[in-house]
């Protein structure tokens, strides 16, 4: 029963049953799994009375297809089910509990009104395969969102199908491929900066391209000369974020765009950092041809512990005919009195095909539209302004306590480094992160971007107040101070204390893989 010899497992033997409580509010006890709570014969489900004739299974499924016995899942009461998952929720940090300055992830407040929108039965209970006559509201919603996203990005048309940023990237690369093929040749290389997010090179591979990495210059931006050196007519395009993953605006973006376009390449915009520039500057105006957006970042749709997201892809006019289909579209008014459906589906002429089972993560898209409608153009611009203000305030405040590798005005996030701290005290970026957990904040992103040693990537977002920033900065400073004090390294290495579990042994997890309850040794 214990995960391994020597390991101390706090569960008393009775945990295999319906133990009510693993010390809720205490946070220092283990929660049994559903499987340990299970007792044969217990039941939570209740199903509708249908009156349908109750044929036996044997008459319904031929013997060779029948399962010998029902799948053994877990058998718990509704009461224990509720207690179990409620207790699990108490072992989970979230935006709703406190500041979550996870760089590159834009963990802003997720407005509750968007939850209410997503719960509307008129949206939530619609079958995706229903005829368009039954889904006019949804079609209008999608068209309206597409138009808003095109406006925000400065593009001509968009697909809402991709379910997350990485899906958007791959979709964008396939659009790139389709475009070049239509021009006669697919080309073979895609350029990405060394600071890029890991999904970019992974998507490049899946798009059938080779990744060519260009270095950042000493200011943290794309080294234009190095880029030019890589450009030739085998380059399909370049993938960039702007601001980049160092939180810095690529000031030479127009030169970059010109250079890439000159060799016939396309510019792909990774929209993960769009929050920084909403309503201030648009990817389309910078020269990008393809843009994905992370609605779960910029448009505040909740992350759900790792998803769902939504990664629409917007494109310049020349790429629109290649977009995935079917797409929701406004229909030309068929009859003058407005009767008949006003929205329908259309597959673009040279569509690369579907990239989702249905129409994308629709309820996420509905939330995003609600967010756009609440803000309007001005509100979105203010989002960017205050996100950037917050990041710069924090950078200025922490400058001196931590290294600031690229010490100039940043956009929505700033990348710090614990390199000096590590050299002088032995306390690493990871330790700083764990100490922050003890302080009641979520940790920033660590060890990314790869180009910064001991990186701590802090993105406060616009929904955090000055007082929160002050408390966060205080915590950062306290951590550095205590690291330097006697015993500081041990203190940090032992962190976090007080969290539901202490520092987790990641190496062991990978070495002795236990991917399911049944795989426990």
């Amino acid at each position: 029963m214990t995960p391994a010899a020597g390991a101390r497992d706090h569960l008393p033997p009775a945990a295999a049953g319906g133990r009510a409580s693993s010390a809720p509010l205490l946070g220092r006890d283990t929660e049994p799994t559903l499987f340990e709570l299970s007792r044969p014969g217990r039941q939570a489900w209740q199903l509708r009375t249908t009156g349908v004739p109750e044929l036996p299974l044997e008459e319904l499924v031929p013997a060779e297809h029948r399962r010998p016995s029902p799948p053994q899942l877990a058998e718990v009461s509704e009461r224990d089910l509720v207690a179990h998952f409620t207790r699990l929720s108490h072992r989970q940090f979230s935006v709703d509990l406190g500041s979550y300055p996870l760089g590159s992830c834009t963990m802003k407040y997720n407005p509750k009104v968007c939850d209410a929108v997503a719960a509307l039965p008129g949206l939530a209970d619609v079958h995706p395969g229903a005829p368009a006559s039954c889904t006019q509201g949804w079609l209008e919603l999608l068209v309206e969102l597409e138009e808003a996203l095109c406006q925000v990005t400065g593009m001509a048309a968009a697909t809402l199908q991709p379910a997350a940023g990485a899906a958007g990237e791959l979709t964008g690369l396939l659009l790139m491929r389709a475009w070049h093929e239509s021009q006669g040749r697919p080309r073979s290389k895609v350029i990405i900066p060394d600071s890029a997010h890991g999904t970019n090179p992974a998507s490049v591979t899946l798009g059938g391209y080779q990744t060519v990495t260009v270095p950042s210059d000493e200011r943290g931006c794309v080294d234009l000369a190095a880029l030019r050196a890589e450009l030739d007519d085998d380059v399909a395009g370049i993938m960039l974020t702007n601001p980049n993953t160092l939180g810095l605006f690529e000031e030479e973006i127009l030169d970059i765009a010109a250079a890439v376009h000159e060799v016939g390449g396309l510019l792909y915009y990774d929209g993960a950092n769009l929050n920084a520039i909403l309503g201030v500057v648009r990817p389309g105006d910078m020269g990008f041809d393809i843009v994905h957006l992370n609605l779960h970042k910029t448009f505040a749709t909740p992350h759900g512990g790792g998803g769902p997201g939504a990664g629409p892809v917007a494109v310049a006019p020349r790429l629109a005919p290649f977009l995935p289909g079917p797409r929701p579209v406004r229909l030309d008014a068929v009859d003058v009195d407005g009767a008949g459906p006003r929205f329908g589906w259309e597959t673009p002429e040279h569509s690369i095909g579907r990239v989702h089972s249905w129409h994308g993560n629709a309820l996420v898209l509905a939330r995003a539209l609600a967010y756009v409608l609440v803000h309007g153009g001005d509100g979105l611009r203010r989002v960017a302004q205050l996100a950037v203000l917050n990041a710069n305030w924090l950078r200025t405040r922490l400058h001196g306590t931590y290294d600031v590798p690229y010490d100039r005005p940043c956009m929505h996030e700033c990348v710090l480094s614990a390199a000096t701290l590590k050299r002088t005290t032995g306390v690493r970026a990871l330790d700083v992160a764990k100490r922050l957990l003890e302080e009641g904040f979520h940790a920033p992103t660590v060890y990314f971007p790869l180009v910064v040693d001991e990186a701590l990537m802090v993105e406060p977002t616009e929904t955090e107040s000055l007082q929160t920033l002050e408390a966060l900065a205080d915590a950062f400073e306290r951590i550095a101070r205590q690291a330097a004090a006697p015993g500081g390294a041990e203190l940090a290495a032992g962190a976090p204390h007080g969290t539901p579990v202490g520092r987790v042994d990641e190496t062991r997890a990978a070495r002795t893989l236990v991917p399911t309850f049944d795989a426990r040794p």
Binding site: V52, R66, S94, H303, A362, V374, D378, R382, T463, V501
Partner: protein, 446 residues
């Protein structure tokens, strides 16, 4: 204009002062002036939340939701199964909803343990020992399965049964443009795949659905033999509800099992967010796409969970990663864990059994309608295919007016023309609803 920023004007001024700036626009001094949007975005001015609720409510009202006014007999990959209040309540706990990917396991045990439980439940259901933390949807799971299979077999050839959901097949085709997989569709005969008609001698992957898109039960034993003969990996797109009473893909010998998990507690949602299910044999764990949660211990030896084998992921191996998936559908995996916990062993079998009973009853009633014919004689579970005396789309439109979502019209790919329709019946359909549907059907096909 409305937003959710807390800043007062005084605070903004003070913060700008710290930065030595005069105004918010100065924050963007690095942006070339020519690029800066002078007039702002051309979007309608912001609306207060209650106005937005009115607007969104209006859009919602312009749809016809499934329910008593539009009784759902449509499936095709999205099913109207029971979603109890308890699942809604637990899955909407804001700790689950508003957290990020569990990068800091010490404060993410809630999501991690729930996903660990999900993985276990899915492994038990599918009959193979490893399951990941979710993919986008059924289609994405098939794509990843083919990627895994091609990598494992070292071959690009893929046999795809025509019984696979055509949308998923479409997505597979889209992504094959990048990966270069050679997809060969293998047609159906009397509702099941005619593997003998395949031409690729050494496929790397074979993809089959169980039950397939027409609702029919494929002979997975034959598929296993085909794979054994050719060295291909066997990918089964299973229906996780029907799995409550069907032999598991793992028992049939599947190497990779994929599917759509919407049926476990997610509303129809106009198609998303849904839940891509992915499970496989232990041999393939290092090729597993997406995230995997594993059990381990903390510094004091207490049981703990963490995302593991991260070396596969794109934030470590970048272009050499086994997939590009980062954000997945974790909340849906948590939802499915809750729902499967609610169903438990007996409930899982029960919804499958009840659906099968409903489908049998409904199929008989519809086949009694003059002019309606079965599309195949193969055994079915909760969905079945018919050939109608007139266009299926037309019948669907007519029945929508009578208060029924009659099914999903088939395209030409399944041995039928535009008169093919698939009809799904879940455990939620009552005898009265089915009877009323059948009589409306009779009128609609006249």
């Amino acid at each position: 204009m409305a937003d959710y920023t807390p800043h007062t004007e005084e605070e903004i001024a003070a913060m700008l002062g710290v930065l030595g700036l005069d105004g918010l626009d100065d924050l963007f001094a690095v942006v070339p002036a020519a690029l800066r949007l002078a007039g702002g975005l051309d979007l309608a001015p912001g609306l207060p939340e209650p106005d937005v609720m009115v607007r969104m409510g209006g859009l919602a009202a312009a749809n016809r939701a499934c329910g008593p006014d539009l009784v759902c007999f449509a499936g095709g990959g999205a099913y109207d199964h029971e979603v109890p209040p308890v699942t809604r309540a637990l899955a909407s706990r804001s700790e689950f909803v508003t957290s990020y990917t569990p990068y800091q396991p010490e404060v993410a045990q809630g999501v991690l343990q729930a996903v660990f439980e999900f993985q276990t439940l899915l492994a038990r259901l599918s009959g193979v020992p490893v399951a990941n933390a979710s993919l986008y949807d059924g289609a994405a799971a098939v794509v990843e399965a083919v990627n895994l299979g091609a990598a494992a077999s070292g071959r690009q050839g893929v046999l795809v049964s025509r019984g696979l959901n055509p949308s998923w097949r479409d997505v597979l085709g889209t992504f094959a443009a990048g990966t270069g997989h050679e997809l060969e569709d293998v047609g159906l005969e009397d509702g099941v795949t005619a593997w003998g008609t395949a031409t690729q001698p050494e496929p790397g992957v074979v993809v089959v659905a169980y039950p397939n898109y027409l609702g029919c039960l494929e002979d997975l034993g034959a598929v296993r033999r085909l794979c054994d003969r050719t060295g291909a990996l066997m990918v089964v797109a299973f229906d996780p509800v029907c799995a409550g009473i069907l032999r598991s893909p793992g028992e049939w010998g599947a190497d990779v099992v994929v599917g759509e998990g919407q049926v476990f507690g997610m509303p129809l949602s106009f198609g998303g967010p849904y839940l891509g299910l992915f499970a496989c044999g232990a041999a393939h764990v290092r090729r597993l796409p997406g995230r995997l949660v594993g059990e381990t211990v903390d510094a004091e030896g207490r049981r703990a969970y963490v995302t593991t084998l991260r070396a596969r992921e794109q934030d470590i191996r970048r272009e050499k990663a086994t997939s590009n998936v980062c954000t997945n559908q974790t909340l849906m995996a948590v939802t499915a864990a809750v729902q499967m916990g609610w169903l438990g062993t007996s409930g899982m079998a029960e919804i499958a059994l009840r659906s099968a009973r409903g489908a049998r009853y409904c199929r008989s009633a519809l086949l009694a309608v003059p002019g309606v014919e079965p599309l195949s004689t193969a055994p079915v579970v909760r969905e079945f295919a018919l050939r109608l005396p007139l266009s299926a789309s037309l019948v669907v439109e007519r029945l929508a007016e009578e208060g029924f979502l009659a099914g999903i019209p088939l395209d030409g790919a399944h041995g039928t023309d535009e008169r093919g329709l698939i009809v799904a019946v879940t455990e939620r359909r009552t005898r009265d609803e089915i009877d009323a549907f059948a009589s409306a059907f009779e009128k609609a096909v006249r």
